[in-house]
Symmetry: C2
Subunit: 325 residues, 2 copies
């Protein structure tokens, strides 16, 4: 066999216990669980756009799969399988080994079989398709939210964007905070357990993961559910010590790459959600509410408003990150 | 909504009649046909590696999906769904429109719903994951061939490689032939109907599609089925008029990008295969046979031999294309 095949096989041929036929043929063969529907998502990461080319390959391997699993989490799906396609500028054995270790650490943690792939020479680009399962009609969709629902967010939003600001020299961070932010940026935790719990306990009416920024992604729920929304800035985590408040606000509201879940839930679910946060040891923060959509109002009402600690509306300059803006 | 989303939505939001929930949420939702297994494959195409950056975008759109469907064909699967991730150097409206038209021409032709995608800025790179269905245990695998089986190939192998040779200035082609070769290279036909017929009529013991070259891909069947093989060069299409015979031999045996199917079949199936060729209006050429593997012989026997028109063994210099060779 030639070099490419040997290299890929050595690093990426791992057991696929939940798969009829793993990598090595024209296709892999999967047996979906009878009665389940499939949730499928794809994300591409490009060096210089989504990550620095010198990012630690093990962390990059983790993140490459994690950002896809985050989309499964946002539907409440149980992760099952993934494929990986990658363009690499060179066949660097140690880089590939570290990348594979990070990728499979995430795959093993969430029970994912890597069932197929493609590797080629090219500018460093990584593309994953992930597949999960869930019962028909149970998915946490973006279009299921109701006026009057609370808005919740998991974890510690803003830290990944703060890490990026530090890496770009826009702020300095004390060492402990720097490490925590860097972990948030480079090894995000897909909120699989949260998504599964919200779905099986029927606690959420809608959900989305925060990849492009809190306001931008919340906007997708508003748009698809035909609702307006109000965000209370004071309910979200306060700026860490010595961090400029305007920078922090930008990290919180417009920073991407958090991969936390935003979800909508009826006020009646507050106690259950608090109990869930306890059982998952994961902060779940109520940060706003959903209102009837503009279609039923004046047509001029802002769809999404943010109030500061004094209850004054903030003027929003941008709501996220647009790859082609 | 911001520019990127508008652009992508305008060109790529098409009906997905065979899908529970199409693009626009964190995941698409698919309902597999009860009792069927899924065949899944992924292929990445990089500008400058797999295609020239100035390739006609409509043809590139077709090929981007077709090379993935070809893998489904090689398993005998019925195509169902695909995802598309792309990095683009710029958000060029007319390029995207033409690309989408070509992509959906292929998708419509073969009944594929595009269920998800991701688009980002970056060096032009396209990655598709395609999913098909087939009954449990019926797939045309690489490891199912038997000693004594005939070797067959569909269509007109060698033309895509000849087109590449012409584009690279290694040969000149008369206009009619040039167009035919260019079509073979740029708008390959995934042999879906052939794969389905071979599977449902149980005519083939193994199959693979020719992406890396006839000998290289045949080598995968030999390796996985633990067999040796003999190829009769004289059985394969002769060089077109005025084409150098050494160049043609190289195109036939080592040229990739044909996306024809190689399959193995018992000699008893010859009449049925000839009838199938008639009914599909697709040449099916018997070009060799499979022999017991070296494991049971001297251990020194060549696994794959090619005999020329005089029955003399050819010396093989290389067997295909290795992205990292």
């Amino acid at each position: 066999m030639s070099g490419e095949f040997d290299l890929i096989r050595r690093h990426f041929a791992r057991p696929t216990p939940a798969t009829l036929l793993g990598p090595g043929d024209d296709c892999a063969l999967l047996a979906p669980t009878p009665g389940q529907t499939l949730a499928i998502t794809t994300d591409m990461l490009v060096a210089g756009v989504h990550f620095f080319a010198d990012t630690d390959p093990g962390r990059l391997g983790w993140k490459t799969l994690a950002v896809n699993l985050s989309d499964l989490a946002a539907m409440g799906a149980q992760p099952r399988w993934a494929t990986l396609a990658g363009a690499l500028p060179e066949a660097d054995d140690s880089w590939l080994g570290a990348f594979a270790d990070g990728f499979f650490a995430c795959a093993t943690r969430y029970g994912v079989d890597l069932v197929g792939g493609d590797t080629t020479r090219g500018p460093l680009t990584l593309s994953v398709t992930a597949i999960g399962e869930l019962p028909l009609g149970s998915a946490l969709r973006r279009d299921g939210a109701h006026a009057g629902d609370d808005l919740w967010i998991s974890g510690s939003p803003g830290l990944a964007a703060l890490a990026l600001a530090a890496l770009q020299g826009r702020t300095a961070l004390p060492a402990t905070l720097a490490e925590r932010c860097r972990d948030a940026l480079e090894t995000p935790t897909p909120r699989i357990e949260l998504g599964l719990a919200l779905r099986t306990r029927q606690l959420a009416s809608a959900a989305i993961d925060v990849s492009d920024g809190l306001l931008a992604d919340l906007g997708h729920i508003l748009e698809r559910s035909h609702l307006a929304g109000e965000v209370e800035l004071a309910a979200l985590p306060a700026a860490p010590a010595d961090i400029d408040s305007a920078l922090w606000r930008d990290c919180l509201l417009a920073g991407g790459d958090d991969y936390e879940l935003i979800f909508a839930a009826a006020p009646a679910a507050r106690a259950d959600i608090a109990a869930l946060a306890q059982s998952l040891a994961l902060p779940l923060t109520r940060f706003g509410q959903l209102l009837p959509g503009a279609e039923t109002g004046s047509g001029q009402a802002p769809r999404l408003s943010v109030r500061d600690a004094n209850g004054q509306p903030l003027t929003l300059t941008h709501r996220g990150y647009d790859h082609f803006a």
